[in-house]
Symmetry: D2
Subunit: 417 residues, 4 copies
Amino acid sequence: MTQAAPTRRAGRHLLQIPGPTNLPDRVLRAMDRPVIDHRGPAFRALTERLWPGLRRVFGCSGPVVIFPGSGSGAWEAALVNTMSPGDRMLMCETGHFAVQWARIAERLGLRPELLPGDWRHGADAEAIRARLSAPDGGGFRAVCAVHNETSTGCVSAIPEIRDAMDAAGHSALLMVDTISSLGSMPYDAEAWGVDVTVGGSQKGLMLPPGLSFNAVSAKALEAARHAALPRAYWDWDAVIEANEGGVFPYTPATNLLYGLAEALDMLAEEGLEAVFERHARHGAATRAAVAAWGLETQCADPAQASNSLTAVRMPEGHSADAFRALVLERFDMSLGNGLSKLADRVFRIGHLGDFNDLSLIAALAGVEMGLCEAGVPYGAGGLDAALDSLMRRAPSAPHAAPQTPATTPSMARTGQE
Amino acid sequence: MTQAAPTRRAGRHLLQIPGPTNLPDRVLRAMDRPVIDHRGPAFRALTERLWPGLRRVFGCSGPVVIFPGSGSGAWEAALVNTMSPGDRMLMCETGHFAVQWARIAERLGLRPELLPGDWRHGADAEAIRARLSAPDGGGFRAVCAVHNETSTGCVSAIPEIRDAMDAAGHSALLMVDTISSLGSMPYDAEAWGVDVTVGGSQKGLMLPPGLSFNAVSAKALEAARHAALPRAYWDWDAVIEANEGGVFPYTPATNLLYGLAEALDMLAEEGLEAVFERHARHGAATRAAVAAWGLETQCADPAQASNSLTAVRMPEGHSADAFRALVLERFDMSLGNGLSKLADRVFRIGHLGDFNDLSLIAALAGVEMGLCEAGVPYGAGGLDAALDSLMRRAPSAPHAAPQTPATTPSMARTGQE
Amino acid sequence: MTQAAPTRRAGRHLLQIPGPTNLPDRVLRAMDRPVIDHRGPAFRALTERLWPGLRRVFGCSGPVVIFPGSGSGAWEAALVNTMSPGDRMLMCETGHFAVQWARIAERLGLRPELLPGDWRHGADAEAIRARLSAPDGGGFRAVCAVHNETSTGCVSAIPEIRDAMDAAGHSALLMVDTISSLGSMPYDAEAWGVDVTVGGSQKGLMLPPGLSFNAVSAKALEAARHAALPRAYWDWDAVIEANEGGVFPYTPATNLLYGLAEALDMLAEEGLEAVFERHARHGAATRAAVAAWGLETQCADPAQASNSLTAVRMPEGHSADAFRALVLERFDMSLGNGLSKLADRVFRIGHLGDFNDLSLIAALAGVEMGLCEAGVPYGAGGLDAALDSLMRRAPSAPHAAPQTPATTPSMARTGQE
Amino acid sequence: MTQAAPTRRAGRHLLQIPGPTNLPDRVLRAMDRPVIDHRGPAFRALTERLWPGLRRVFGCSGPVVIFPGSGSGAWEAALVNTMSPGDRMLMCETGHFAVQWARIAERLGLRPELLPGDWRHGADAEAIRARLSAPDGGGFRAVCAVHNETSTGCVSAIPEIRDAMDAAGHSALLMVDTISSLGSMPYDAEAWGVDVTVGGSQKGLMLPPGLSFNAVSAKALEAARHAALPRAYWDWDAVIEANEGGVFPYTPATNLLYGLAEALDMLAEEGLEAVFERHARHGAATRAAVAAWGLETQCADPAQASNSLTAVRMPEGHSADAFRALVLERFDMSLGNGLSKLADRVFRIGHLGDFNDLSLIAALAGVEMGLCEAGVPYGAGGLDAALDSLMRRAPSAPHAAPQTPATTPSMARTGQE
């Protein structure tokens, strides 16, 4: 028992980076079990639990390939299964992660072309259409977009990109990174005509990092037949074939799969629509707080604002990283940092995963008190604005409705009676 | 995987009753271990970890007797070890739990006398002095007080009671219930001259319920020699003697002892002074919020206000229980109910245990939004008042101090620059 | 990372004392959850899960009172709820625990009379009948027996005791300690006419210690109305009444109740009959090993041998405690010690709780190798005898039956073909 | 609570496949924690705990690259970081996994050449020397060997391979798969002159699957500068550079890293030498049992027998898979299957990881009883042979030595006195 310098922080750490997220105990407890034989009948039963839930989350009826690996591995998998050396791809520079994906493509010997962006908007579907329709536009083998750019909090409208490709009559594959939108925001691979969807475990799926996914269309599977990039670990075919027998072609990350099965159950128990609406409420309330503080979101177009994270621009002359360090030190809350050219310029508030109204207010309180302590000029009333936003947009009751007044008055009106 | 009615609440439940409290993961994980032989060397090593930390928390150098049982069991233990049938005791009617203790004394064949109280104050030391000094005051064998009355949130000044007893030159034992103050508010059995301190595991000690304690003075041990109430399970001597050999005279609740060892380490790591100051900050911030809402605390004397819980009086015509049910339903937060004559009249906010600034704001946000939804008239600005209170009373930095502005401006002043 | 003296034992410790037992992970994980409000709706739902399973295990349709406390607390509860000061009780000296219960009765002001026993047999029903029929036999208010004497491994035939009481036309209450038989060996409080059954959590119920039980007949409840021993904590009425509303009259040991609900589910999933048969197989195999070693069981009558533990007599001149210490040190297995007059004379092998064939062989291997290392004279072949016993008495298949040969040959015959 | 068909198996499942292994509770509990910010100071502190322990296990002083991925990913990483398209490699056909590695090399566009083997021996160092010295032997860029071939239980003497390469004056890189030997059998990358060591988390490291490793020599790092295979995810440089700042270039599998830190502590606490000796004792005892049963190990050379697993050949006319299914059904133990051409011909007993004498006996008892039930002809006495082997080779006492007889007699001699 230490008598020396105090070292413990009381209470629960708030992990408000935009993923990994605050894990639900149910997922942790599901993972806290002995490993089983990955070639035995119990394992087979485990995998069978996964497919319906995964397909529902991705909005697909075809294979979802699970990799032990990070989200960047699933990016690589999407490329090596479908592309050949020197293939051209059209990518949209929506932010840090879009650029990273392009860099990986380059490293693998592909020729990505980045449609320029200002890191404050989603992908520009019209620009995509134009580029694809240009004289040399026919050669792109893939169009790649990040659904929810985790570095900026901007959403790209995937159906619009699909429409742009169709309008251009283009046959490229459409590949979409949903790492920070999957399980948090509406997504429908099949309805939206996406050929490869890239996902990860550590965001809306409420799991630790360590698993990533490719949801694959029939067209993508066909492309894989002819793709000439060397591949082994990431090869779809081997996994899909093995999965049919309830196994994997390698030793799978069994305990993360336990967690995945539990998390998929939990999403189903809440209902995906309710999950999306919850994130929408929290996104709106967060933006209301930011507006009240007089700060600016990195996302310049409210219609494109992410519901899983909000990147906030730091006023000139103030360091976002010093602010984040102060919030961590003082309030035991982790906020996301600015990446690449946004380093030290923005901080990011994750409001995704297993999260509720009171957790959100806690997180916003940490920001508001942090702004105060850091001497950042801001307007008061962020919390009240968030409360008001939450109250105006009540969730549909998950159980039987409680006896509440017929009309929920706004907080401002009820106050001070 | 259910497709039917959604059943899951997202995010973490907030348990803001005044104990049991939100358990830290460290304690839960420490308990999540196989049982060991309660007569073997590993168990002996476990018990040796307990005593220094327990003595520090109780402020004593003598024995602390651990019972597998609830706090009410430790009340009973205090009585049956020291009293004989028909013995008279002076107790102070500070609230529900003080009355319960008296009822138990009656059931055991003792004659408790309750000094009347209004359930809005701590014990009245002057009244105790007067009663002890009355002609028939010499016959009391014990004076009993509840340090922190969990049903009202009023603190009794134990040193003043000791002084009153000394002033009356009275030899009665002083017995104190610290169930909801231990490990949350300053307490010092030896310095304060307390003979039997009654404690429980499920509040400031951050454990699940299931253990309770008697910290025993030499005078109490001496009284036990002559006490004639029958006793077996609660007998101090058997436990104290067995403890010297590292065992218990019954099968102990091993996994709760694992948790206790961990919790005592955690209190030491944070530092008891820091723990108390943390609770003081949170108590003050909660009362600031209640005042801003225009509501009344059950505790009528601010100097006696508890730092581990705040009981809030519901405005006339509004049901505290309906309000609590709404908060549970809508915000997944449990608040404490009113007990006995306070039923449906107060709700209690627990702010003790493993808790921090942001958790407190979350809890207060749940109350504020609940008041709004329930149509209870209240003043806006509770959260802001709490934030302001927290910021004005910054904790001493647990680690290295972060780079903060030299003077922390009040939030109101910093806002809107 | 320590480089110094190695301190870690590899592998899993085997806890082969006769309770507490090796906990199943499911129970530990069920307990590894946040506490909930013990007065809220989720808690009520938890308690409702408990009653059917508890009644099934006790074989009763009346109340089962749950106490936060050890088994000795439930002994005390049985007495204080039904007896008045000076009441006489007939108890059977089957071993250490029977004697302890009598001592507790004495401490509480009762007058227990111990029917003498040699600690190598169960209770003698005929002697009970004779004693009850003696001229002064009418005054006993209770007959108390230990169903499975944990200190000796001898079973008392409770139905025979019931018959003896009936034969004597006696109206005493029948109280039975089932602490180490409950959930391991057949027991049926109602069919057997038992008025108070005393149970604990840490044996066949596969829980950590910390809960104990009284299953109470209508006759016992009636007796409680007139019983004059003082009682508060252990009072049945308060608990039974509170339970009807889904609560307890004190703060219950919530996390142990989580575990209890899980354990009851597990017993139901395996099926109580299968649980009992499993223990019977393991008891028989253990005795086969002991016989092969040429050692003697403390239980002198094979028909009374316990299926949850086996006490083995140490050959003269050898210390059972030194042997146990060696087994602990060398094989990381805890064996039970001899108690009272059996101290250092017997060691006890627990084979109860969540346990299977291979665990049993592991435990017996630890004994056999320990005997060898300790230089205790013994016959070889204990493990083979146990294997043979297990094979001859194959369990009914829990799932679909595997493709096994129609007749299971004894191992000796199959070997060396 | 199910009343229908019983579904629960009592007791603990034994996972005796040659990895993943039976996880220690400490590792599971270490992983059962919230995720932390992978770019924050707490994460940095976590990574700093890892390097010394990892280097000790690999026997290296250079970088150990951690990948979120399976062991096959680490194979791929070893290749893509060091090789260029069309490069030739010499590999040794010791069994299924050696062949798999070669297939991966082919898929990546390399030209592996397999030195033929009979799957019953380790790699033939003399054949390697000869092949490297052949006229076209100079062109191999790498020699690859599997230290402990998990499919056969044969060990390849890596120092002899190093000597062979040196004798041939060959400059190829030496790459070694230690997936099922690391942390179980002596290994020393630097002393043995290994350039790339491939490891996984799920065997001797006592972790769930999901992490894999490359320990990299300076020569290998130099080779990486010129290697032309495309690489991104598996790129060493990015990881090594990021690690210097305490981070990873992707979202790491944080919870598995928690487990890794704990497992490395545990290995250090036991002492690596003690860990290796423990596996050696268990390997020897297993082989003694197999010999007593009259069965044959797949490894034909006792000097090359693995200490982490034993592959046992099934007598003609008997199905190894039917036997394994019976053992799983009847004794709740998983054994490893035969792979590729050994399918249904061998079963594999894993005796690695967190394992002790009594667990080993339990596992062998499951095999012996399974042989009996399956009607496989076998000799009796396997368990006795294992006991005897264990007793003859007592471990050095981990704590203070117990009072044991000066000479430990063999079990046979002590028996039947």
